[in-house]
Symmetry: C2
Subunit: 91 residues, 2 copies
């Protein structure tokens, strides 16, 4: 593997791994007030797009990285929607 | 442009655009308690890696998308660090 590929794979690993602590924190604390709903809606849609792109060009690194990111982003999105519903019910 | 490229560019646009509402909300409300510091640290580092990768393979779409994402992610990271410092000072 050359240095360029190594940087690409490391970057893919980091941007995927990043959503683990966010999903964990959101799940544990249920503190979602500062998390943006439009962000996670747009981001999940975009990552789904990347996943489809990966399937179309048959790129396993893109498929694997984006499947994991999509799952984690959807956890945060689900918790955010649940949080907003709770606020609406309480008010 | 073929359908595969179109899906790739649309996905890049969405995953970059997603950070605009998060940076805007965080800047406006200064509510950063639910935003994960490890997430934005790892994510910013990963996006910086993608930017370097884009420069190395001379890909303008990767350079442009990741420059914007890096800027927006760093805004959220800066506000989160500031928020944590404020909490430390107050306690």
């Amino acid at each position: 593997m050359n240095i360029t590929d190594l940087i690409g794979y490391t970057s893919a690993f980091l941007t995927t791994l990043a959503f683990v602590p966010q999903a964990h924190q959101s799940w544990k604390t249920r503190d979602l007030s500062g998390v943006s709903l439009p962000m996670y809606s747009l981001f999940s849609l975009g990552v789904l797009g990347w996943l489809i792109y990966g399937v179309m060009i048959a790129s396993w690194p893109i498929i694997v990285a984006n499947s994991i990111t999509l799952l984690l982003a959807c956890v945060v999105l689900y918790l955010k929607v649940k949080h907003l519903r709770l606020i609406t019910t309480l008010s």
